[in-house]
Symmetry: C2
Subunit: 313 residues, 2 copies
């Protein structure tokens, strides 16, 4: 099973970031291409209309609108956009700030029509772009920052450096093996009937396993054991890294325990299998296929309840 935004076939060629002459030549070369990203999403190549229904089956018929980098655009390449790496065809790839937001497609929708590789590139470009836009000033001294290392660091006049920020988030399926059921919750502002896996940001000084236990207890009043890592997914909205886990139910009465969720309840294998098969006519809406939460649910549905184990990679 493919996890959207996890495609990553670009060679990041990190050593080039500190070779300004190589970067300058790469930008100027006719092979250079830009992934065009903005506040609203990413530029697709003429199939923006197809990417309108997150419930549609996977189509994978779209492609990124890779832009040639015109001489007049080179200023945009320096800042706030960045060198992404070298594509499979040898082309140097850059993130380009969009001039026209109206032409962009929402990243989540784009992921439903792009190849995993292109969706991964789009996520990478969007994550870097979002970071540049939110770090124009130094958090240590308040001075303006400028982009360095081909877009992979920002530096202020006092020499303070900051690297791109990625926020680790744990997302977990709590499994009650004895009753063959899993725990899901819903936020009040989600589409009606939507349920998904519990999740939350990892806090300072916390292991992933402690974060899983804390978030499950906070959100559902339930304790867990046997926490096991399953998969990860970049989630550039704006800068998260989703870390997917399964954990075994240990005790407690499941309920919406804090203000985060409006409902938390157990779902049987039959309920979820029905929902997974029927899409948006189901009495329950599962998370869309692009979400790692759906990957966790589909993985549980595919496994025998008696022999759940970490995903074989």
């Amino acid at each position: 099973m493919t996890i959207p935004f996890a495609g990553d076939t670009v060679d990041r060629a990190g050593e080039r970031r500190t070779q300004p002459e190589w970067i300058e030549a790469a930008v100027a070369s006719p092979e250079a291409r830009g992934i065009v990203v903005g506040r609203s999403g990413v530029l697709l190549d003429g199939v923006a209309e197809a990417a309108s229904d997150p419930w549609a089956p996977e189509q994978r018929t779209g492609s990124l609108g890779l832009a040639r980098i015109e001489p007049g655009e080179r200023a945009h390449v320096a800042d706030p956009v960045a060198f992404l790496g070298v594509g499979a065809d040898g082309a140097p790839l850059f993130a380009l700030e969009a001039g026209d937001e109206d032409r962009l497609t929402d990243l989540r929708l784009a992921a439903s029509v792009l190849s995993p590789e292109d969706a991964g590139l789009a996520a990478y470009a969007a994550a870097l772009r979002n970071w540049h836009r939110s770090h124009r000033f130094c958090s240590r001294c308040g001075e303006p920052t400028r982009s360095g290392e081909a877009g992979h660091v920002r530096v202020c006049a006092n020499g303070h450096q900051v690297h791109p920020r990625t926020d680790p988030v744990v997302i977990m399926l709590v499994v009650d093996n004895a009753a063959d059921r899993v725990l899901l919750g819903r936020k009040a502002d989600w589409p009606q009937r939507r349920y998904s896996a519990l999740a939350g940001f990892v806090e300072p000084g916390e292991t992933l396993e402690a974060a899983v236990a804390r978030e499950v207890l906070e959100e559902s009043g339930v304790t867990v054991t046997g926490t096991r890592y399953m998969a990860s997914q970049p989630w550039p909205f704006p800068a998260s890294l989703m870390l997917g886990f399964e954990a075994d139910y240990a005790g407690g009465e499941a309920r919406a325990a804090d203000a985060e969720l409006e409902s938390v309840r157990w779902f049987s294998r039959e309920e979820l299998a029905t929902a997974a098969g029927e899409g948006h006519d189901s009495p329950i809406l599962l998370p869309p296929r692009l979400a790692i939460a759906r990957h966790l649910i589909d993985g549980w549905l595919g496994a025998r309840a008696s022999q759940i184990k970490p995903r074989d990679r």
Copy 2:
């Protein structure tokens, strides 16, 4: 096996952060205690001298220098220090900025004498303290920020919020099962003869598995497969979260492939077992016991080479 800094028995009581009256009462209560942290480390309770040799066997005889919060210190509690949670004894715990750096003990050394629980608390307090000190200005607009939610958010005059930053780092033991050996590297500025696991920051738009493969290839020229998550460890120097993996050697000639490391080579089971047993008289120095790299190495040494599997939690 215990991973230092991973002890986490405090109830973070996150819902209290948005209850300023509860926080105010907690600070004023005679039960309130402060973990005193500064640039140089953490305040211990009179055993600072014992914590001087990272090679010494685990002693676990020290304790945190938990400070009463005097009325005059309350100003320090509001900003830049933070509510950590409620201890096992019911005492509200806060991070307190140290007035006297000279009394502090380096956090890594402290971890060798503290209980896992206290070392975890110290790491939590230090991570939050480091974040406050490096985020006094808004990275979006350059305005000064102030602490909110009892030290778990910073907000500027324009209403931009920023939450504590934690940088995910992958650290991995590359295992060559056929030859029963593992790949380690050393940085030029490390103590002589020290070797450790390869490691590097996760980049934007990257899965953990992709980050492991990229970093190993960049640093050693080697490709890997079968990446498996083992354990995680908060590493507040200043704000990392170490994500420990094993990965199987797939191909390539191991060498120091970039400027990051001065040497990369394979180590046999015998070499590592000798080094693990002899401490700093060994011809090779393994990472100290407080590092997750050592946990990965010891785990591999303890496992049968033919049946390596994720740590059973």
